[in-house]
């Protein structure tokens, strides 16, 4: 494993957040690309693009990806992956919509709690049953989507049948066919409102990422997460509670997806079970674009944020490109997105940053990581 650039450059670890959470070598690169893309958009499209309105709405939309990506960053650092986040988010949005009758805080709390428990279930499958993360979370991915589709029936049919004493109106409010509407008389939607002109989701993101960065850099849990990803067997032998750590990261991932679900429900006012298709890949791409390797053992929370913003900007710009007489079909947009992902990953890959330091002393079992193929650039 070629030591990551950020580890090579910083002199004193623990000096500050800059090293452990914030600007590592990789995230600096992403940051530059981010600035570049933003500048380009601003030059081409002017104030409609860089204006506060566009930025605000763009950020609020991407806050959902930001939460999911933050959670999944922790999972990826342990060398795992969480495909279930999109399904968990959509199920959470259904729940949040139904819970909205109790007001914002109870809805938020209950939803995130349930989502966390689902994440915990992932962690249990991975940590306790030893099922590979991809498959374990694929299972939840299917099941949670199914439950999201069933959710309206649960509230409209099953629960009323189970509790015949509760007045039927209690269960049925706002449940229609496959969707669940939020209760607009309560303050639920204030979560996507604004404080001092700043949308609350943006504030939440800043806070969440700050906490995430501190946890990763300065808490035992964070360091242990990195250790587990770096060498699980060693971590176990060194006495780390590997299973618990794994369960925790999946729980975090679930909880963050739950948060994304709450925002989703609040923003649309009606929760649809067919929402959020493919968002897991969007969130995971953001993590990767940020520079975190899927092989685990390293990663940066802030880099993930940059990744989310970068992908968000690209999407946003694609909408703008459609404006000028010439229009890019959605098909071409996919092609462009594929090429863009390719370029960003290329810029960060060892192919362009590799310094030819063969990595023979690392104990990491080779296989999937791209760091340990000393030969490919050999001749």
């Amino acid at each position: 494993m070629t030591a990551p650039a950020k580890e090579q450059q910083a002199k004193r670890p623990g000096r500050d957040l800059l090293r452990y959470g914030l600007l590592g070598g990789q995230s600096r690169l992403v940051f530059l690309i981010l600035i570049g893309v933003f500048a380009l958009g601003s030059i081409v499209f002017g104030s409609t693009f860089y204006g506060a309105y566009n930025l605000k709405t763009m950020l609020v939309y991407n806050s959902m990806f930001a939460f999911m990506a933050l959670g999944v960053t922790f999972v990826i650092i342990t060398g795992g992956i969480d495909l279930s986040i999109s399904s968990v988010a959509v199920l959470s949005s259904m729940l949040a919509a139904w819970f909205s009758r109790f007001g914002l805080l109870p809805a938020l709390f209950l939803t995130v709690l349930i989502a966390t428990l689902i994440g915990l279930f992932n962690g249990w499958m991975v940590g306790k049953l030893g099922i590979q993360p991809f498959i374990a979370t694929l299972i939840t991915f299917m099941a949670a989507r199914g439950l999201a589709l069933i959710a309206p029936k649960i509230f409209a049919i099953y629960l009323p049948a189970l509790f015949p004493n509760v007045p039927i109106e209690f269960w049925n409010a706002n449940v229609a066919d496959y969707s669940i509407g939020i209760d607009r008389t309560k303050n639920f939607q204030s979560i996507t409102g604004e404080i001092w002109g700043i949308p609350i989701p943006i504030i939440m993101i800043v806070v969440a990422y700050a906490i995430g960065a501190i946890v990763l850099g300065y808490s035992r849990f964070g360091r242990h997460t990195l250790a587990v990803g770096g060498n699980e067997e060693a971590s176990r032998l060194m006495g780390l509670p590997v299973v618990r750590i794994k369960m925790a990261v999946y729980a975090i991932s679930g909880g963050m997806a739950g948060l994304a679900g709450v925002i989703l429900a609040s923003r649309s006012g009606t929760a649809l079970p067919t929402e959020a298709v493919g968002w897991e890949l969007q969130a995971i791409s953001a993590v990767v674009v940020g520079g975190t390797l899927l092989t685990g053992g390293q990663g940066s929370v802030v880099a993930t944020l940059f990744g989310v913003l970068l992908l968000g900007l690209v999407f946003n710009i694609l909408n703008f490109i459609n404006a000028g007489g010439f229009s890019l079909t959605v098909y071409w947009q996919s092609v462009v997105r594929g090429v863009f992902l390719f370029l960003v990953v290329l810029l960060q890959s060892p192919w362009s940053t590799h310094r030819n330091r063969p990595s023979r002393n690392s104990q990491r079992p080779g296989s999937v990581s791209h760091g340990n193929s000393p030969n490919a650039s050999g001749s």
Binding site: I81, I135, I139, T329, S334, V345, S349, S373, A376
Partner: protein
């Protein structure tokens, strides 16, 4: 594994052919029902198995291929472009059909090559490399006809899906041929050993002289080509190419089949027969649930649970 499979199959037949049982059927009818149920299941599972075999090889090297669905769409889109286009007029239908069966597979293999080169030369992580094609590839397929479907009627081309030599659908032959070839590849050839060695310990394999880059690339090429074949089958059977939906979610089916079949995603093993059985299990569960009228959303949950069980027992056995 096999036991579960058999139990389900038998249960399946009993529960799915109520009419036969009601009528107090004789063996002949039961046999016909069995043959038909088998035929439907094998037809439907064929594409998953074909793609799953490629996936199994990729997974055995420690990689993963998310691009198979998109590659299916591309291959499926190209075939009608060829036999509906000027080539058919200029050189005749025979040539056009030949090209329609070969060019798309070659192009699909080309995308596999691209995946392989991204993984080996540019050293992208496999998920990411194939995610690029997953995202961009479907776009390419759609761009080819601007998203439009291409309906057609071309019996000789469609023979790969609608043909019934000896009463068995052609795609079932293709499926078994692919399985047998892959089995042979894994068990008997040096290439097969290399695949497993790379998945087991890539650095060690390299130092033992294994041409790691070439083997890995080739595995993605195979996966791409097999996805191409599957894409053609889908198009042929539907008498229309649909770039928007052809191969949708195929990567998940193929990966699930691989994992349920007992090939760990960590690499170093390739259980080809397992993949066949895994796909059959998934297919049979799906078939049973649909035919007994379980709504889609419940079926999803049940499916998830069965995969969990299957994977759990696989893991137990491996441990």
């Amino acid at each position: 594994m096999l036991v579960v499979f058999n139990i389900i199959r038998i249960h399946n037949l009993i529960s799915n052919t109520p009419t036969f049982i009601e009528r107090g059927t004789v063996n002949v009818e039961y046999a016909r029902a069995l043959q038909q149920a088998l035929s439907v299941n094998l037809t439907q599972v064929a594409t998953i198995v074909i793609v799953g075999v490629g996936m199994t090889l990729v997974v055995a090297t420690g990689g993963i291929d998310l691009s198979v669905g998109a590659v299916m769409a591309i291959a499926g889109q190209i075939a009608p472009l060829i036999f509906l286009g000027p080539i058919a007029d200029r050189f005749g239908m025979g040539v056009a059909n030949f090209l329609a069966l070969t060019v798309p597979i070659a192009v699909a293999a080309g995308f596999g090559l691209m995946n392989g080169l991204m993984v080996t030369k540019l050293r992208f992580q496999p998920i990411i490399a194939t995610l690029v094609v997953f995202i961009g590839g479907r776009g390419i397929a759609q761009v080819l006809t601007n998203g439009y479907l291409q309906p057609f009627k071309n019996p000789s081309f469609q023979y790969i899906a609608l043909g019934r030599p000896l009463g068995i659908p052609t795609q079932v032959y293709i499926m078994f041929a692919v399985v047998l070839l892959a089995l042979f590849l894994v068990r008997r050839t040096a290439f097969g050993r290399y695949v497993l060695a790379i998945g087991g310990n890539e650095r060690a394999a390299r130092l033992a002289g294994v041409p790691v880059g070439r083997v890995k690339t080739l595995v993605y090429v195979i996966s791409g080509a097999l996805a191409g074949i599957a894409g053609l089958i889908v198009v042929a059977i539907n008498a229309a190419s649909d770039a928007n939906l052809n191969g949708m979610n195929m990567e998940l089916d193929a990966i699930a089949a691989t994992a349920v079949g007992g090939t760990p995603l960590t690499g170093g093993h390739a259980n080809i027969v397992g993949t066949l059985l895994g796909a059959l299990l998934i297919q049979l569960v799906r078939y049973s649930l649909i035919s007994i009228g379980v709504p889609y959303e419940f079926a999803l949950v049940v499916n998830a649970f069965i995969i969990l069980l299957a994977v759990y027992f696989q893991r137990q056995r491996a441990a």
